[in-house]
């Protein structure tokens, strides 16, 4: 056994055929996704040149910001080998709670100058709280996170609709948000949107957290081997709960940007982007088996998925076809991840 594995692991250099080497390199390369994105955009620009128009590029750019934030949060949960399906319901719940505080039509703090600040704080608290609930149920009560977050998703999606109905006469959305808050959506300083600044700051924070802090190493350890981590003194439960809390927090940040753009609090916010959030992380090389993920990878994943989405829509494909194709692409990424995992495990 030992000699076989030793010999096999030294194999790729000398004996494998060239195509196999190239395939292996592609499979393990972090920049595969970037290459695919460029090839895809270049190919598509022959059919729909407007994909490269400044307006379209700006549209894509603004679109990916909140998606990127939510995907970064999800990455933390995937890194400890769990899943969070509740991100979109956190957005919905946070969005309507925040809106109900600051709306000028009978909001709790309507017309108060500091209403937006309180609303933002409330959205953040909702996000972190739901994240902590997810984490505690998963790791303390030892339930599959798939089940936990599926049920919190259902619960808070429903609760958001109920909450909206209880706070409005129309029952569908809470509008009339203060202009100061709406600035977050499309406003900016010196041509740089606030949303972009927030995103860059958060991305840098996550990157440093993962690469330069004890917490980041703990996240990796828990994802790779929770038993060994516990014996090495890692507070496994706290780390897992922390990752779910960060996922909730980042969903809340994404919700703030989306709400400001929609200019209303609505319980259907983010309903359709769950697949995009998970897909972007997986395409970006975050392993579903835990322990592996980078900020730059997730960024590339978000770019790729948004380019696919945008390009297909420009081509005039129906929403359902776009959905089917995106689903296929994400499945392919997940299969690639599984193959990588198996290749690694075999050595």
């Amino acid at each position: 056994m030992a000699e076989t594995s030793r010999v096999l692991s030294s194999a790729p250099g000398d004996a494998r055929s060239r195509p196999a080497q190239v395939l292996r390199w592609l499979l393990f390369s972090d920049y595969l996704v970037l290459a695919l994105t460029l090839v895809y955009v270049a190919a598509l620009s022959f059919f729909v040149p407007e994909i490269l128009s400044p307006t379209n590029l700006r549209d894509i750019f603004l679109q990916i910001l909140p998606l990127f934030i939510a995907a970064l949060g999800l990455m933390m949960v995937l890194m400890v080998a769990q899943i969070d399906l509740s991100a979109t319901s956190i957005m919905a719940m946070g969005c309507v709670v925040g809106a109900s505080i600051m709306t000028s039509e009978g909001g709790y703090l309507s017309a108060q100058p500091w209403a937006p600040a309180v609303a933002i704080l409330a959205i953040v608290v909702v996000g972190v709280l739901i994240g902590v609930i997810n984490g505690v149920c998963t790791i303390v009560f030892d339930m599959p996170s798939f089940l936990v977050t599926l049920t919190t998703m259902m619960f808070f999606s429903g609760a958001a609709i109920w909450y909206t109905a209880a706070h409005t006469s129309s029952g569908s959305s809470i509008g009339s948000l203060p202009p100061a808050f709406l600035e977050i959506g499309y406003g900016g300083v010196a041509g740089i949107p606030y949303a972009a600044m927030i995103t860059v700051v958060l991305a840098i924070v996550v990157h440093l957290l993962l690469t330069r802090t004890v917490f980041g190493r703990w996240v990796m350890a828990v994802g790779l081997n929770p038993k060994a981590a516990a014996i090495s003194g890692v507070p496994v439960q706290a780390v897992v709960i922390g990752c779910f809390a960060i996922s909730g927090l980042f969903a809340a940040f994404a919700a703030i940007i989306y709400t400001a753009r929609l200019e209303a609090g609505t319980p259907i916010l983010g309903q359709r982007i769950l697949l995009d959030v998970i897909g972007a992380a997986v395409i970006g090389g975050v392993s579903l088996f835990g322990g592996k993920g980078t900020v730059i990878g997730v960024l590339l994943g978000v770019l790729f998925l948004s380019a696919v989405d945008n390009g297909l829509q420009l081509l005039g494909l129906s929403l359902s076809s776009v959905y089917a194709i995106k689903g296929g692409v994400i499945l392919l990424a997940a299969v690639t991840d599984a193959i990588r995992h198996n290749v690694m495990a075999r050595g």
Partner: protein
């Protein structure tokens, strides 16, 4: 009875230009047990995998009862009567004993139809179980059986396929002493029925006791071959490592014995796990813990390190009383714990050597409110300690632990605790599953720690190892301390008796 069953000659095999078998050859008569020994990487597994149809050979002959054979998969091999019982059993725990035995050849109601004849299944299973004297209902799910009985099920499975040759690869690693005895008895019975056995093991005492003939492999060559009477443990070791190790255990200055107690355990109990365990461990002392699997030795280690609770008693480290603990607290008090399950609990197999080594030391080596790390300093610290225990790898920050040999992996586990400079080091089976050369190095590292003033709790199921290393031996059985032996009156039989006595 004793006609020639298996003749291997001139076997060669290379992987990607690296020759791993060179002209390997030996013979085996039916009704005989052949012991195959060698360090990890010596070619034992490759030879057996060729025999079992897992690998194909480059050249050479394998004759089974005078006929040239070349099985190309394990099904082929089984059809030829060669059964391979792997270290990790290939049973399905959720299926019953009988279903496991007949998984690939269920008796059918009618030939060609997919209906299982349940009654025939039960009868045939019963017969097979009788052959090996396993008294369990054939319908019992395998997961309810202890490890030793699972192995017997695997043997029953081989017997129903009319195996003429059964290969055992490290069969006793996860067995208790009693289960091992039973396995040996069964092997004796198989031999009496004319079945040939190839027995691969690191435990040389077992090989000498059980086998009629022994073949020693080193670097893919046969370096020793003959009847058991030709060999002693020392000779086997010399042949295996290719150099003479005068002693299996490195020399060490005996403990001064004047030091204060580093660890005092007083009447620690946990229902069903340990009962009234009391002992003192001094700085600069190595206390061996002997006992069978399930005697409470590993459970005690987990309690001391704060992984499992205890309901009564007191654990003191120096001046501090350790009340219900967490690993973090235990570590802060200077404890370290090498577990018996290296892959499952000791290492992150996919992570680099460096990342594994620094994991327990991160908090102490970080600064500020966010526990900021300095990667360069961490990397240097990991390199230093890896060098100290002589981890054999080029780039420790890029080499995944998964690619290392068992001995090197164990050194990584030791290194990760050494980086914390522990005062009390609990070692649970530190040399399990690693080859003789690596064992010797691990012993040397342990001795250095003791010489440096650390207190060591050395848990092992190999009594020779404890006799060779420890200052004192504490024997455990059924969760209780059965007695202490001082170095001056170490006695293998007395220790064994204390462990077995009920």
């Amino acid at each position: 009875m004793s006609e020639l069953l298996l003749k291997i000659s001139g076997l060669n095999k290379s992987f990607f230009g690296v020759q791993v078998l060179r002209d390997v050859g030996f013979e085996l008569t039916s009704g005989a047990v052949l012991g195959l020994v060698g360090e990890n990487g010596s070619g034992k597994s490759t030879t057996m995998n060729i025999l079992g149809g897992v690998l194909t050979r480059d050249s050479g002959r394998v004759e089974l009862a005078g006929v040239d054979v070349a099985p190309s998969n394990s099904r082929d091999a089984l059809a030829l009567g060669i059964a391979f019982i792997h270290q990790e059993l290939s049973l399905f725990p959720n299926l019953s004993v009988e279903e496991n035995i007949f998984l690939d050849h269920f008796p059918r109601r009618m030939h060609g139809l997919p209906f299982i004849d349940r009654r025939a299944l039960r009868e045939q299973a019963k017969k097979a179980l009788d052959l090996i004297d396993l008294q369990v209902a054939p319908a019992t799910p395998v997961m309810r059986l202890p490890q030793g009985e699972r192995q017997l099920v695997e043997i029953a499975k081989a017997l129903t396929r009319q195996a003429r040759l059964i290969i055992f690869d490290e069969p006793t690693t996860s067995l208790t002493a009693r289960e091992t005895e039973r396995l040996f008895e069964i092997i004796g019975r198989l031999r009496a029925q004319g079945i040939a056995i190839i027995y691969i093991s690191h435990i040389l005492g077992d090989v000498l006791r059980l086998c009629d003939d022994i073949v020693v492999l080193r670097d893919g060559r046969v370096v020793g071959e003959g009847p058991r009477a030709d060999f002693t443990i020392e000779r086997l070791v010399t042949l295996m490592v290719g150099r003479s190790i005068d002693r299996l255990f490195p020399e060490r200055e005996p403990a001064p014995g004047t030091n204060s107690a580093a660890l005092s355990v007083r009447k620690v109990s946990q229902p069903g796990v340990v009962k009234d365990v009391s002992f003192d461990l001094r700085l600069g002392e190595m206390l061996g813990v002997s006992g069978l699997m399930g005697s409470g030795r590993s459970e005690l280690a987990r309690i001391l390190f704060g992984l499992d609770p205890y309901s009564e008693g007191e654990i003191r480290v120096g001046e501090h009383t350790l009340s219900p603990l967490s690993p973090r607290e235990a570590m802060d008090k200077g404890l370290a714990f090498l577990t018996e399950d290296r892959r499952g609990e000791g290492l992150m197999m996919e992570a680099s050597i460096a990342n594994n080594i620094v994991l327990p030391s991160l908090v102490e080596r970080s600064s500020g409110f966010m526990h900021w790390l300095k990667p360069a300093a961490l990397g240097q610290a990991a390199r230093d300690v890896a060098e100290r225990v002589r981890v054999n790898a080029k780039a420790i920050d890029r080499t995944a632990v998964r690619t290392l040999s068992g001995g090197n992996q164990q050194k990584v586990v030791i290194a990760k605790w050494l980086l914390r400079a522990p005062t009390i080091f609990i070692l649970d089976e530190p040399t399990r599953g690693i080859d003789v050369g690596a064992k010797y190095e691990v012993y040397k590292i342990i001795n250095q720690m003791v010489a440096g003033g650390a207190a060591i709790l050395f848990i092992s199921s190999e009594i020779e190892e404890l006799i060779g290393m420890a200052d004192r031996i504490m024997v455990m059985g059924r969760g209780e301390v059965r007695g202490f032996f001082e170095r001056t009156n170490f006695d293998r039989e007395a220790i064994m008796k204390a462990a077995l006595w009920d």
